[in-house]
């Protein structure tokens, strides 16, 4: 599903962001990506959705060889992925429904099918009643649910989430996390970058920890720790 083999990533001015990172995430897995800010969590995700080029090593994502992907194939890769960010990244001048439909429209989905698919995912994230609301009329948790609905509407095989609960209060965090668990339960792999260790401890999922760009702990490979992923 997602396979990193000896991956290095250097930024022109920032030095090495990833050093010899290797891991393999199987279909349907739920994986936490942890570590301090600047440890390389976001960089890993950016390599997965080809936002940044790989410096060396191999990155494979659901059949795509990302390191050698041609620019024109990048959109095809992203249509297989769902991506969620800390800052939601919704379009302010469109309703929840339109924001979700947007992701289908850009892929050239048939107009007649869009409405039903959008309502189905909005129902799945529990926001069917607020389909007509604009992002500014929604709470943070609700906005993140819209973003998740947008990520799901293309029926991705992997959901990437970069600090999805970073801007949310505790209650909204629990709600969004539960939603991600439900999504995973229905078969979608989830790769979630977070530094919220309470969240990590709550669930029995695999943990990959980065430190200064190097993979320092992977719970399926290494000995289980007493205190998972303590930084």
């Amino acid at each position: 599903m997602i396979k990193f083999t000896n991956v290095f990533k250097a930024f022109p001015k920032g030095g090495l962001a990833l050093k010899d990172v290797s891991f393999h995430i199987a279909k349907g897995e739920f994986v936490f990506l942890t570590g301090h800010s600047g440890a390389g969590k976001s960089t890993v995700l950016k390599l997965v959705f080809a936002e940044e080029p790989v410096t060396s090593g191999e990155v494979r994502v659901s059949g795509f060889n990302v390191a050698e992907l041609r620019p024109k194939d990048v959109p095809m890769l992203r249509r297989r992925l769902g991506i969620v960010f800390q800052d939601f990244r919704l379009l302010e001048d469109r309703t929840a429904e339109e924001n979700v439909a947007f992701a289908l429209e850009v892929t050239g989905a048939r107009r007649s099918t869009i409405g039903a698919r959008v309502m189905r995912v909005l129902t799945q994230v529990g926001l069917a009643a607020k389909a007509q609301a604009y992002p500014r009329e929604l709470s943070g948790g609700e906005q993140q649910r819209v973003a998740i609905a947008r990520a799901l509407v293309n029926e991705p095989t992997v959901l990437l989430a970069d600090e999805p609960t970073g801007n949310l209060d505790e209650r909204a965090t629990r709600g969004v996390f539960q939603l991600l668990r439900d999504i995973n339960a229905s078969g979608t792999a989830v790769l979630m970058a977070t530094h919220d260790l309470d969240l990590v401890r709550q669930a029995p999922y695999r943990v990959i920890e980065l430190q200064e760009g190097a993979l320092v702990y992977d719970s399926v490979v290494d000995e289980p720790r007493d205190q998972a992923a303590s930084p």
Partner: protein, 285 residues
Amino acid sequence: MNLTIREALLTFRRAPLLSALSVTTIAFSLFVVGLFGLVAVNLQDALRGVAERVEIVAYLLPGTPIETITLAEKDIEAFPEVQSAVYVSEDSALARARGELVEFRDVLQELERNPLPASIELKLKPRFRDVQHVNEVADRLRGFGFVDDVRFGRDWVEKLDRLRQVAAAVGLVVGAAFAVVAIIIIGTTIRMAVLQRSREIAIMRLVGATDGFIRRPFLLQGAIKGMLGGLVAMGLSYGAYVLINRWLIQAAFFSRAQALAVVGFGALIGLFGSAASVGRHLRRV
């Protein structure tokens, strides 16, 4: 395609102020080009009117047989430069003189013998009304044995030539300068519209939109803005034309084709301005 049109039109609703600003900016840029165009069109009309009067007259030796003249007239009319060649006999020359020179009517009336020679009057086709061609035709006319003398206003044709060259040079330079300024202003305006939506573009890319898909609504929207700007510019130009006509001088307006050209120019700048801005933006993000 459907979606492209919808997205392009939605921009006008979502960002009405910026859209109106773009159209207005484009309109005024093109209005300046249009005003200059009006001056050019009118100057050209005036010059054409003057050039109408470029005429060559070949005076014929007295006693030339009418058959020879008729044949020659046919020959001369067949010159590629010549638009028309008209034979004026001694008698009609006198009749015309009587009609035109009213002050001398009595003198002309009392003449015993007609002092006026017969002639062939030539008009050249518009594009040959310059010194070089007038000279060539005059030389050729002198070659006919029965032609006594060839006259044309040499100084005058030369001055007309100079005037035309100056007008063309000034028109080209100033027109190009105005067009470049318009292109820069319009390009900047469109770039603003693209930057305003950079967030949207980033999100579109995130959910897997192709560059072509992202680009198309911008191109359409740019072309529409350019076209609307062109139409408004034409409206403003027409207003200016009406005012000038009423208060200053009798002027001409653009032909339909010229007006369409200005509107089309606007649409093209809008289209290419958008293509450049979006292209640059997409490469950078």
